[in-house]
Amino acid sequence: MATATAEPSVRTVKEDGQKHKKNALSDGQGRLAYILLAPTLLVILVVAGIPVIMSIRESFFQTNNGVDPVTGMVAGGEKFVGLENFTSIFAGGNPVQGSFGTHDRFVNAFLNTTAITIVCVVLETLLGVAMALIMAKAFRGRGIVRAGILVPWAIPTIVSALMWKLIFDSSGVMNRVIGSQVLWLADTGASFWAVVIADTWKTAPFIGLLTLAGLQTIPAEVYEAAKVDGATTWQQFTRITLPLVKPTLVVAVLFRTLDTLRMFDLPAGMVGFGKYRTETVSVFSYLEATQTRYGPAAAYAIVLFVYVLLIAFLFVKVLGADVIGDTGMPKKKKGKNKTPDDKAPDAAAPGLEMMGGAH
């Protein structure tokens, strides 16, 4: 493990300059690493960093419209409005009737986003864990189930939105199956549940796949020992399975939460724009931007961004989500003789969950 000794040798380089190379294999890694990372970091800066800063700037401005009172000319361009885009949220200047009573349109979208996220993530986690437990017990046919599970994942979200739109049509198959006439897509309380069902369908199997990976790292001996000690199946589940699968599950839930918070395709494709029962912050911000109200749109997007950051921070701090996992840090901790595989299960999870895709 020559590279495992990289830390001391890097220190050597720092102290003595490049002249006395103690370890020809790992010296100069730092510089090489920066060279290799530079393009990616530059791209991230250009495609994400700068637009985010531009968006923050934008949120303090508003597009001019109407006639300039001073010059009497039709005003163009933009004007600095300070925090007005943010404060107007609380002024309640645009009240709409949503699932949670009458609120400002942004507050309504924010409440929708939060409610959809909580309900979806709870349902998806329960279903996903159940699926993983079933798959873990399977003797044969796991391949078929895995193939089946990848079907909802591979379908584009907008296509699945339209698919559910047909299923939830007032004269569609869902109403035929339940034998009643629910107006799922007419901006009623049922629309909320239609979105929840469609999202749960698409992503619960995915949580199942992730949890299964976590389950399979639990050695069978642990269960055998518990059985010898007389633990019931339920005790085995709550005392062994859940604690041991928790690291994987927390990361999965975190990524699902962040994904659901930015949900756009499903409400937009299924229920449509301007439907206040299912309007999420992403949908509202998009609508504002396309109507050239860039300032408010940016402000709403920034609030969503801060919300997402806050949730991620809480997950990492309170629930101890190991987001970074071990990926890329095989020897950060002192365990020099540890093989990278030791913590590999945690490492795999973030990469996997990132694939949840847009919603």
């Binding site: 991230i44 079933i134 895995r146 911000s285 990926t327 890329g328 999870a349 990469g351 895709g357």
Partner: protein, 310 residues
């Protein structure tokens, strides 16, 4: 179970396979119930995942006049909807080509940048690695909608961006912001793949006189090809399925990607949602992905859950 039949003894000791056979627990009644229950459970999972998709497929195979029919088997089976998808006004072939251009370019760019970055993250030790990992992670977390207001303003050359070329209805308007979610995905996956390869490979190469760069190119890259390929599929699917950026920046009908085109299909009458055509287009957009995913499912799942199964 015929496990107790004595095998013809040709040696003094049983072979290890036979020992394993004898040591195996005979399934008790309880275990058998559990087994049946697990098969039933698996059946339910498959039904859960596949039934809505089945509905999409049979709805696409109906006669166009039966768009909202709730028959479980289309009668008569018709491919008119599939013809309708490519009929003049929908221009769906063009949309498919647009999608291919956008997703293909995004995938290639992402891989070019991602491979080198992932290699550095997986193998090299350097200061600030934690910060880089967090940065990449954060990049995958932020809502895409944050990009929409400033970029829409910029790409449409609105004040104060008069100097910026008009990028609405250009491919780069979708490809470049698309890197912000493709790149973290690729870097994260590839890092996991590179880490699976034993480090001794490069060390041997470097002992033989290769520089780290050459060791990477000649030893690691060929071995990581399956990982790169899997990552390519995943990024491609993510990019192919992307909707928000494409909806915002590609407005002209001949520039729309497939996902946008499907969501904007209008019926011939203009009033009724042409469900049959939409479902047919959905099937066309999804089936290639499904075939790729199912062909490589072992690899994709294994890659995704790398290290999960030892």
């Amino acid at each position: 179970m015929a496990t107790t039949t004595t095998p013809p003894v040709t040696q003094d000791r049983l072979s290890s396979a036979e020992v394993a056979e004898l040591a195996r627990e005979k399934p008790s009644g309880k275990a058998r119930v559990g087994m049946i229950a697990s098969y039933v459970g698996m059946g339910l999972i498959v039904l859960y995942c596949v039934l809505p998709f089945y509905w999409m497929i049979i709805s696409s195979l109906r006669d166009p006049s039966q768009g909202r029919s709730t028959q479980f088997i289309p009668d008569p089976v018709s491919i008119e909807n599939f013809k309708g998808v490519f009929s003049g006004q929908n221009n769906f072939g063009r949309s498919l080509i647009n999608s291919l251009i956008v997703s293909g370019t995004t995938t290639i760019l992402t891989l070019l940048f991602g491979i080198v970055a992932a290699y550095a993250l997986a193998r090299l030790s350097f200061k600030g690695k934690g910060a880089v990992l967090w940065l990449i992670m954060a990049c995958s977390m932020f809502p895409i909608v944050v990009l929409i207001p400033p970029l829409l303003k910029m790409f449409s050359s609105t004040e104060p961006f008069e100097w910026f070329p008009r990028w609405i209805d250009t491919y780069q308007a979708v490809i470049i912001p698309g890197l912000s979610f493709g790149l973290p995905l690729a870097v994260w996956n590839l890092t996991a793949f590179f880490k699976q390869l034993p480090m001794e490979l490069e060390q041997a190469a470097m002992v033989d006189g290769c520089t780290p760069g050459v060791a990477f190119r000649k030893v690691i890259l060929p071995l990581a090809a399956p990982g790169v390929f899997t990552t390519a599929i995943i990024v491609f699917i993510g990019s192919w399925n992307e909707y928000l950026l494409a909806l915002t920046f590609l407005q002209a009908q001949d520039r729309q990607t497939a996902t946008v085109a499907i969501s904007k299909f209008t019926g011939t009458t203009g009033f009724d949602t042409p469900y049959g055509t939409i479902m047919a287009a959905g099937v066309i957009v999804t089936v290639p992905l499904l075939i790729a995913v199912l062909l490589f499912q072992r690899r994709i799942v294994a890659g995704l859950t790398a290290g999960g199964v030892k």
